[in-house]
Symmetry: C2
Subunit: 97 residues, 2 copies
Amino acid sequence: MHVTLVQVHVKPAYINDFIAATKRNHEASIREPGNRRFDVLQAPDDPARFILYEAYVSPVEAAAHKETPHYLAWRETVADWMAEPRRGIPYQGLFPA
Amino acid sequence: MHVTLVQVHVKPAYINDFIAATKRNHEASIREPGNRRFDVLQAPDDPARFILYEAYVSPVEAAAHKETPHYLAWRETVADWMAEPRRGIPYQGLFPA
């Protein structure tokens, strides 16, 4: 399992817009054949900070996600709402296999 | 959904032992009624660093995990293998609900 932890920091004025747009991305992403998880997390001490927990069967499926219409639409929609650039950290998922 | 990201740094000599012990913890934890995920991740650039991605229905079930025999056995087994204290960061899981 290939996992990416994406750290997101949005401008405070766009927190609710970001949640709505990311919910749509979540709902479409979990329907991708190679997707295992697409969890959207919010930091309890700073509601402008999020983590996207994206798990795919392999790096191939993770890369394919970035070509989907829902990802490309989400990327464009949220672009101006970022307080700083997103940072994706890759991990090897050991369990579940 | 209540999520905890646990950052783990083990002594290099115990990487394989840690993986074996944590696999047992994973297998028992995903059978807890309130568990949603118990993913074990390894950093590709430093195999001594791991993340445990633990998701429970609510903080109540997350707390109950820490009373289970498999958690208590794991905690004792890995205690001397830590290179530094573990750090658990809580998040509110927005999606899936």
